[in-house]
């Protein structure tokens, strides 16, 4: 009797969780899909038409924006993938290999825009790099007239993107490498007189790639539709498609919503095309004669070329760290004009006043990720437990939760925000937390669910034979066993939520803002000092979080099985 009741309740909750997760995804999709065909009955538009496609395509410079988005998305993904492998390959089987993870973790944890801001502080004509050689070497007593930054082709946007994506790709590749006997493969290749380069790319990389393929597609989708980084690093006449969508959405015409929706659909179609293109590329590379061709090229033992590639890879890392340090320095500086390499005076006055005026902002920026991540990890655990309880083994349908990562953020948010206004819901904070969940759950899920499912059944059996019920087994056996994954998933969840820009912009509508949104506003209004301080907090938070997690991990994992 009681058991039946429990089963009923768990079935109901599974359906309930399924509904609250999937319905908004479809709402978000329909919310921009239907208006782009001129369909939104509430605005009195009930006739389907392709009118807005015509209007969209006639926006001045829209083709340039589209090409820019495609170019930056593809090139950055390709380069990030290439350099992540090059860096791994040169450190593979060296002493440094074990430290790579420690070095890249803070870089992964930083929000995208922090990286972009660091680049601006470093590379703009009045940036630190030129200051360091001016005026003694270059003779510049004022910033030179250069057109390099931001450039017209989006190269700096690509640079910014790869600085963020390389560490991420390295991290996922590292865990992929642990899953098979990579050292043996490597030695095998070497024993056939292949260079380490061709060994890596013909033997090891294909295996890694199979495991990280999903991530690569996420990166393609993300980098061809990124908003926050484009606002800072992309050229502005015209900018990338995602920024154009944002600009059009912001203008106060009735039509602008439909045009923005339509462009959102086009953005989605572009991403789908890129996926198809990438898949064709994969097919070509898989062909046998390509392999032979590839081995021929890579077996050319050019030590110099290797060295250059490696230097470039390491240079990228240095660039990110220098940018970060430079932006922190700005937070404490005053009267720091070109060409001074170091600020005239350093003080913490502006730091303190910023902190004083923005206490609630800082609090909310930590509070939201905390809530989102708590919710998403608990939802994941509940979900996995319920499925286990009901003995549902087929879990293919779980891919649905990954959809938000493949739909461009701006499209999804344009879609979902109109639903939120439509339902007349007034709590901006709760809506924001809810919407952020869609971007955090996939990460929590992908880290946590396999870990829980991998807990050996024997432990559970022993526990139940000792009379422990399901709840006790969960809290006393399963969770302690998966604690490292749980903590990682929790930390990643917080970091992802912390760095989200578009959801906060659209759902918070200024009423709820976070450091990420505020930092972007500051970067656009050129207040370098405040920007430095905001960036400081953006760096501080993820690093503190990582340290805390590491500490907890160390303290609690005394008893390992």
């Amino acid at each position: 009797m009681l058991n039946d009741f429990y089963r009923l309740v768990s079935k109901a909750s599974i359906i309930f969780i399924g509904i609250i997760i999937t319905i908004p995804i479809f709402c978000g999709f329909l919310g921009f899909f239907l208006p782009s065909f001129n369909y939104l009955p509430i605005l009195g538009k009930g006739e389907l038409s392709l009118n807005y496609f015509y209007i969209s395509m006639n926006i001045p410079g829209i083709y340039k924006s589209i090409i820019l988005s495609i170019f930056t998305g593809l090139v950055s993904t390709f380069l990030a993938l290439f350099f992540s492998q090059v860096i791994l390959l040169y450190f593979f089987k060296t002493k440094f290999y074990n430290y790579i993870k420690i070095i890249i973790s803070p870089l992964i944890a930083l929000p995208h825009i922090t990286m972009a801001i660091g680049l601006i502080f470093l590379l703009s004509p009045s940036g630190l790099l030129l200051r360091s050689v001016s005026p003694w070497l270059t003779g510049f007593d004022r910033p030179p007239i250069t057109y390099i930054f931001p450039d017209e082709y989006g190269l700096f946007l690509i640079l910014g993107l790869i600085l963020k994506e390389i560490p991420f790709l390295i991290l996922v590749s590292l865990s992929a490498l642990r899953e098979f006997s990579s050292t043996k493969f490597f030695d095998l290749g070497k024993s056939f007189q292949h260079s380490s380069f061709s060994t890596w790319f013909t033997l090891i990389f294909p295996i890694i790639y199979k495991k990280i393929r999903l991530v690569v597609f996420i990166i393609i989708a993300f980098s061809s539709s990124v908003v926050d980084m484009s606002l800072l690093l992309a050229p502005s006449t015209p900018s990338t498609l995602s920024v154009r969508i944002l600009q059009i959405f912001q203008s106060s015409d009735v039509d602008s919503f439909f045009i923005a929706s339509n462009l959102s659909l086009i953005q989605l179609l572009i991403i789908i095309c890129l996926f198809i293109f990438w898949i064709i590329l994969e097919k070509i590379i898989k062909l046998q004669y390509f392999y032979i061709f590839f081995i021929k090229i890579t077996s050319i033992k050019s030590e110099f070329l290797k060295f250059v590639i490696l230097c470039f890879g390491i240079g990228l890392f240095l660039l990110s760290f220098m940018g970060i340090i430079c932006s922190m320095l700005w937070g404490f500086s005053q009267n720091w004009y070109f060409p001074n390499f170091f600020p005239n005076n350093l003080n913490i006055d502006s730091f303190l006043s910023f902190y004083d005026q923005n206490k609630s902002l800082i609090f909310i920026s930590v509070f939201i990720p905390l809530m989102v991540s708590l919710l998403s990890t608990s939802l994941t655990i509940i979900w996995v437990e319920l499925l286990d309880y009901l003995n549902i083994k087929k879990t293919q349908f779980e891919w649905i939760i990954f959809i938000p990562l493949f739909i461009p953020q701006i499209s999804f948010l344009i879609g979902i925000q109109s639903f939120i206004i439509f339902f007349n819901y007034n709590s901006f904070l709760i809506s924001l937390i809810f919407v952020q969940l869609f971007y955090v759950i996939p990460y929590s899920f992908i880290i946590l669910a396999p870990a829980i499912r991998a807990v050996k059944f024997d432990y559970i059996k022993v526990a139940s034979s000792l009379g422990k019920n399901r709840i006790e087994r969960l809290f006393k056996i399963k969770i302690p066993l998966v604690l490292p994954s749980l903590l990682t998933s929790f930390a990643i969840g917080m970091i992802v939520s912390f760095s989200l820009y578009v959801p906060v912009y659209f759902i918070g509508v200024g009423r709820v803002t976070t450091l990420t949104v505020e930092a972007l506003n500051l970067a656009l209004s050129g207040s370098k000092q405040d920007l430095g301080i905001a960036t400081f907090f953006q760096i501080l938070f993820p690093i503190l979080l990582l340290l805390t997690i590491a500490l907890i991990n160390k303290k609690t994992i005394k008893w390992k099985f």
Binding site: I42, P143, S236, S252, V254, F338, N521
Partner: protein
């Protein structure tokens, strides 16, 4: 055990029900309120929270708003939340989408800082509290509506009492006097200057407010018949009128900072560029901007302001209440405070904001008069005499045309 659970559940459901009833009723209780004494009104809205959507890019303005919010909290127990906006058009878009889905009360915005094109869009679409409310506020007696027509006309559109004047501004330029002896004081001098000093001039990218205003300024200086600009833009009649502006830009754009392929996003980003000496000339609408930036350490103290010989664009900025605000009375109380001599004095004070007061000093008593005359001016702020040459704003219909034309010709070709 289940009984207990059910009991608890029932309690929760009931509680939710009552709370929701309360929320459904509460907006109407405001609406039934009759015109009473100001103080009684203030008592009634004690404890409310209003959302003030105002441009939030400048530190000094933000801290002024913070100060004013703290004051009304102290006096009337009204909490003002400053929603920092990057472009007021977003706020208009937000209210428009609320209107579209018929969200006619408790909208997201209770008060908005606005003027020009955004006002005209809101007025045209009936998105504002449409009664003539500004004269009801006690402090409106300090404003000289009879003699100063610009207080009732926003870019030539009659405000009909739907928005309260809050401050005056005038486009002004600034440069570093250490390096430049005499800055260019007209559109044609500026053109020569730009061509001679390649890569050292730019303006905020339209549709930014200051950027568009700069284009309007150039148009006004170059157009033959200035009276055209007061009329509504009609494409077949007025397209030619814009030719001088496009010609000016065609000649200058290649010599802009980064060849006109990139522009700073707003006037504050421009300030940074002047400070770093990437460019020579900056511009702002707040006449105390350069002085403020100097005292904040953002510009060197050799920077000075100037305006063009024939004058520069001047306008009034306003506060308006959206039609669907749920807290109109509380918003009015805050507006009333913002136009009080006390708040206006603070606003004009260069250590706070430096934005000229909108109230007429002649209408004040001696004590306040003194306080206003005692206010120090910043070293880079022009005197009232230097600011006498003013241009009227063109009709708002021109704004969109100029913006779109610019974006098509210069903003999307790379």
């Amino acid at each position: 055990m289940y009984l207990k659970l059910a009991d608890n559940l029932a309690k929760i459901v009931l509680r939710c029900f009552f709370i929701s009833i309360f929320f459904i009723i509460s907006p109407y209780t405001n609406a039934t309120e009759k015109k009473n004494d100001w103080d009684i009104k203030a008592d009634k809205v004690s404890g409310q929270t209003i959302f003030f959507h105002a441009w939030g890019g400048a530190k000094n303005i933000n801290s002024f708003i913070k100060w004013a919010s703290d004051e009304v909290k102290k006096r009337y127990n009204i909490t003002v939340k400053h929603v920092k906006v990057t472009d007021t058009a977003n706020v208009v878009a937000r209210i428009l989408s609320e209107k579209n889905v018929k969200k006619d009360n408790n909208g997201a915005v209770d008060l908005v800082w606005i003027n020009g094109e955004n006002f005209s869009v809101m007025k045209k679409n009936n998105m504002l509290l449409s009664e003539n409310w500004i004269r009801d506020l006690p402090n409106s007696k300090y404003l000289d509506f009879e003699n100063n027509l610009s207080l009732l006309n926003d870019f030539g559109v009659p405000t009909e009492g739907m928005e309260m004047p809050w401050g005056v501004s005038q486009l002004n330029f600034y440069y570093d006097s250490k390096y430049i002896k005499s800055p260019p004081r007209s559109a044609s001098e500026l053109k020569d200057y730009i061509i001679r000093n390649e890569g050292r001039f730019t303006f905020p990218q339209p549709p930014d407010f200051t950027g568009t205003s700069f284009l309007k300024q150039i148009l006004i200086e170059l157009i033959n018949d200035k009276s055209l600009l007061r009329k509504k833009y009609v494409i077949h009649k007025h397209k030619k009128a814009l030719i001088p502006l496009w010609k000016w830009l065609d000649q200058t754009t290649p010599y802009f900072w980064r060849e006109g392929k990139n522009y700073p996003s707003n006037y504050l980003a421009l300030t940074e560029l002047v400070a770093e000496r990437e460019i020579d000339i900056g511009m702002a609408f707040n006449i105390a901007h350069a002085s403020n930036a100097i005292s904040e350490g953002k510009l060197p103290n050799t920077v000075r302001s100037y305006i063009h010989k024939d004058g520069t664009l001047a306008n009034v900025h306003f506060l308006a209440i959206p039609y669907n605000s749920g807290k109109k009375t509380a918003a009015k109380i805050f507006v009333n405070f913002l136009i009080s001599p006390e708040a206006q004095l603070k606003k004009q004070d260069k250590t706070f904001w430096g934005d000229p007061s909108v109230i007429s000093v002649a209408k004040l008593d001696k004590n306040w008069k003194n306080k206003f005359s005692m206010l120090p001016r910043g070293i880079a702020t022009l005197s009232n005499e230097e600011l006498t040459m003013k241009f009227e704003e063109p009709h708002p219909s021109w704004v969109k045309i100029i913006e779109e034309g610019w974006i098509e010709k210069y903003g999307s070709n790379n």
